[in-house]
Each structure stands twice: as structure tokens, then as C-alpha cells.
Subunit: 233 residues, 2 copies
């Protein structure tokens, strides 16, 4: 059955990039880029990621297998407009997706068919529509929300996400673009509950996979007193 | 050798409690409390925590062993004033620490000797002094920064922390008191690097232990191109 999944590399404090780059400077010289490079470095060093980009070398290890697994599981992708725009040049003629990509955007554009099985379809009638179009195109495999982080957050907030895998990188940034923040629009005393279903770890990154249960109220409890006091006088 | 350690229960988005309770209402009815209860529930259900509080029952499992390990490792504690004030009544005559506790505060107060080996010494000349006094009292065991979260953050920011264990609870809060935030005072393109040294996980919580390496610049890289292109035309 097709599930809607997302995976993202984040710092230990939950940022997928540094503070948003604004103004005229070069993005590559921004704090946003420096932090993004740091949290995604484990992937760029993985054989499975490099193969998809057309690069030699890298390390074939448990981290690389995680990358390979995500590529293999995805029958179609949903992507934010900013990520799609930013990737168009570096991904070149054979983007790494090798599957249909549905880009959530306000700007109509003809479908772009690239090499290697990747196509970009521009969806202007909203996130839910993009997810449904991807589901129809996924051939029974998963719909992967490719990012960026704000799109993953929107999919989670909308209750559309079945599975979230975070690649937690052992660096603290203090500030930056957070995947999970007030933009989720949770109520007071409300959380989104998840169940961890797998943990894989290496010295470079801890991969935690969660099944998303959904919104639930945050409740008080008796702090263990229900079990009764024992010997304290 | 005595190390300075800290451990804290946090949500998947890094909050140890809900948004700070302000105003006149009852803290127990606040969003701060509701989230704090949620992220610490795994501990209150653990036998090792309950024993220290004088409560029967609970579950003796891997999570409980983590709690027991932390209590056993600590030869002395450093604690924030707010946590010490808040705990004074519920901890009662036999606080769970069973070791000297050094409270960082601006208000001088005589040392309070409680039952079971716990004492509270009020340190008014700063965090570093409190850590050093705790180190001298720890008898070769660890100095544990008991919390709250803002004190743990200060100890990390000051470069005094050797080890941090996060108990990551599978709930997303969106907003709340974050352990790791801009209060760390990191520079632009600077992070605090860590090395994960152990991961223990259960359906309720993922315990990730880190050795703190320290501040380091965030660097760019060639995004894998150094390995050379292979077959992309």
C-alpha cells in the first residue's frame, strides 16, 4: 500500500539549515548554506547518494544503505517550489529521483521530462492535490516528500504524513530553519504523537524512523503516586 | 575521572516543557506543565525513578536501567534555582539525589541537609564555581547537571559539559521551552560538535548519549564532486 513518507537531515536541535538567507549576497556564502552543508554531509559521503548524482567514490556503509532504501521505496515525489528551483541546475539532465516529481507551486508551468525517468509536474491547486497525484503515479510504492523542510512540515501539519525518518546529525546550531516549529499550528496542550519503528546509528548520524499516529491532547498524570508510597516517612 | 554530564527528556522537536507559564494561573494547569508531563512520563513509569521517589511499582526495563545508571554515576549535582525551588516540597524529606546538590542562585541561603544523603548548597558566585564545588564533592564520580533545561544550556554554552544524554520522546510540540536555542550564543557559521557514543531505544523513548567535542566552524564542501563524475552526459 502506498504510504506518504518524508525524511530529512537535521541538527541535534532540529534545524535542516541555518537562518534563512535574505538579501543580495551569494547563498553559498550564507549561514543557511553552511549549516545545510553540515547536516547533509553524511549523505554526500554515501555511495548510494553519489551514484544517483553521478559521482564516484564515497563510503558504502549503513548510512549509505539508508539512502539506497529511500530511493528504492519512492515511486513518486512531492517537492516544494524552492527546492525544485534550486535543484534544477545542479541536478542536470539526469536528476537523482528517477520517478515522477510533483512540485507544489503557485506558478503554472508545463511538465518537464528529464532523463533517467525523472519528470517534474507543477501542481498549482495545493498540497493535497500534489500528494494525490503522486499517489496515483507511485505504482504502489511510497510517495516521498522530498522537501524542503517547510513542505515536510506542511504535510505533517495537514495530517497527510504516514512516516517520518529523521537523520539526526551530532551538531548543535542554536538557530536556523527548524523542521518542527510553531508553523505546525498545534493547539495549546496538543501534540503530534509518533511511534519510533527503527533506529540505525553510526558515528556520523542517528537515523530514527517514526510512524505518525496523529494529533492528541497532552494530559497530566499523578507522577507515579498511583503506585503508592513505600517507605518515605 | 570526574566528568560533567547532563541528561534531559525532550520532545522530538527538542522541548523539555511547553511555553513558559506566566501570570497568575496554576502551573499545573499550564501548557508548560502538560508538555513537561508528557516528555517525562517514560521516567515516572520506570521502576528506578519510582524507587528514588519512594513509589511502588513501575516497569523494570531498558528505560529504567538508564535512569538507574544516571543515579549511580552521579557523585554530586548542579541544579538551577527554579528547579530546586520547585522540587523542595514534592521531594520531601528524602530527595531522590542521595548526594550533595549545588544550587546556582543569586540568593544566599544556608546549606540544607536533607535525609538519605542529599544536601543543598546554595552557590552565589556563579556556574563555574558551582561546577567546581560539585567536582570536589563528587568523590571521583560524575558531576550531573540535574537541570532545568536553561542551566544545562548554560553549562553547554560555557564549554563545561563533557557528556549530554537526550531522552528523545516521540511527540512533536511545535512550541515550548527548548534545550538548545539561540541562548547558546553561537556565532554565525559556528556549531557545537558532538559524537554519539550510545543509542538505546524503546517504543517510548530513544536515549542518545553524546560526548561533547566543542565549538567548531561550519564549513562548505564540494558536495561530493571531488570523487569525480562518472557517466552523466
Amino acid at each position: 500500500m502506498t504510504r506518504v513518507t518524508a525524511q530529512l537531515s537535521v541538527s541535534l536541535d532540529g534545524c535542516y539549515a541555518g537562518p534563512r538567507h535574505t538579501g543580495d549576497g551569494n547563498w553559498m556564502e550564507s549561514a543557511e548554506a553552511a549549516a545545510f552543508f553540515r547536516v547533509t554531509r553524511w549523505a554526500t559521503e554515501a555511495t548510494a547518494w553519489r551514484e544517483r548524482q553521478g559521482f564516484d567514490g564515497g563510503t558504502h556503509d549503513a548510512d549509505s544503505e539508508i539512502v539506497a532504501e529511500h530511493f528504492a521505496a519512492a515511486g513518486a515525489y512531492v517537492m516544494g517550489r524552492r527546492m525544485a528551483d534550486g535543484g534544477e541546475v545542479p541536478w542536470g539532465d539526469e536528476p537523482p529521483f528517477r520517478a515522477p516529481v510533483f512540485v507544489v507551486t503557485h506558478r503554472p508551468r508545463e511538465t518537464l521530462v528529464s532523463g533517467g525517468g525523472t519528470s517534474f509536474t507543477y501542481v498549482t491547486d495545493g498540497l493535497t492535490s500534489a500528494v494525490e497525484q503522486a499517489r496515483a503515479a507511485a505504482g504502489g510504492r511510497d510517495v516521498a516528500v522530498a522537501g524542503g523542510g517547510s513542505l515536510v512540515r506542511q504535510v505533517l501539519a495537514a495530517g497527510l504524513l504516514d512516516e517520518l525518518e529523521l537523520h539526526v546529525v551530532p551538531v548543535v546550531l542554536g538557530t536556523g530553519l527548524r523542521l518542527l516549529d510553531a508553523g505546525l499550528g498545534l493547539g495549546e496542550k496538543e501534540g503530534i504523537e509518533l511511534v519510533p519503528t527503527r533506529v540505525v546509528h553510526s558515528p556520523d548520524v542517528t537515523h530514527i524512523r517514526y510512524a505518525v499516529t496523529g494529533r492528541a491532547p497532552l494530559l497530566l498524570d499523578d507522577r507515579g503516586r498511583g503506585g503508592g508510597r513505600t517507605t518515605v516517612g
